[in-house]
C-alpha cells in the first residue's frame, strides 16, 4: 500500500514537473526567435547592404547607362527594326 502510494506520488510529481516545465520550454523556444532576429538585425546593420554603392559610383553607373541606351537608340534610328528597338545593352544599371 505504501509502495503504491509512493509510486503514485512519484508519477504525479513527474506529471506536475512535466506540466510545469513544458510551457517554459515553449517560452524559451519562442524567446529564441526574437533573439535570432536580433542577431540577424545586428548583422544587417553591421554589414553594408548589398548594392548600396557610393553616390558617385551610382551617378557614373547612370551616366554609363544613358550612353549605352543612346547608342542603342541611335542604332535603331539608323536601321529601325523591332529587334534593334529592344536590343539589350551591357548596362549594369538594368542587368
Amino acid at each position: 500500500m505504501v509502495l503504491c502510494m509512493s509510486v503514485l506520488g512519484l508519477a504525479m510529481a513527474a506529471m506536475a514537473f512535466g506540466a510545469a516545465t513544458k510551457p517554459e520550454r515553449t517560452t524559451s523556444m519562442t524567446a529564441a526567435q526574437p533573439g535570432a532576429a536580433q542577431v540577424a538585425q545586428t548583422r544587417f546593420f553591421v554589414d553594408p547592404a548589398p548594392g548600396r554603392v557610393p553616390i558617385e559610383a551610382l551617378l557614373l553607373e547612370i551616366e554609363n547607362h544613358v550612353r549605352l541606351e543612346q547608342a542603342a537608340a541611335e542604332s535603331f534610328v539608323e536601321y529601325p527594326t523591332s529587334a534593334l528597338l529592344h536590343s539589350k545593352t551591357v548596362s549594369t544599371f538594368v542587368n
Partner: protein
Amino acid sequence: MTNGQPDLLKGLSPGDAGEVLALGTRLLLSSGAELFHLGESAEALHVIQRGRIKLTLPMQVRGREEDVLVEERVPGQTVGWSALIPPYRFTLTATAPLETEVITFSREALVAHFAAHPAVAQAISLNLAAVIGQRLQLFQTMWLREMQRTVELRYA
C-alpha cells in the same frame, strides 16, 4: 570640327557660311563651366568648336538632387536651339566637362540675318529641324525601351 562644317551650316555655300559665322562670337569655357542653365531665357545658340558639352537634367538620387547626363555634344554640333524655338527657354543645363570653345549666335543677330537672306534662313531652319528631329527620335526610342523594361518588371 566634324567634317569641317557645323551641322547648322550644312548645305550653305562657303560664302554664306562665312557670313553666318561672322555673326558669332567665340566663347571659351573652362572645365566645369556652365554654358546655360535649365529654365533660363534662351537668347543664344552655340556651335561647339572644340571640347565637349554635357546636357543634363536634375534627378532625385537618394534624396539629393543630382544633374544627370541626358546627352553629350561634340565639335560641329549645336546646343541651345531653344533660342530659336518658342518659348525661348532652356529645358536642359549645359556644362563643359573639359576646356571647350563655342561660337555663340544671338537670336537677334540670326533673325535679322534670316530676314535679309531667306535662302540661308531656309537652309539653317532645315538643319535645325534635323537636329531637333534626331533628338526627338532618340528620346522616343529611349522612352519606349524604358517602358518595355517597366512592363517586363511589373507584369513578368
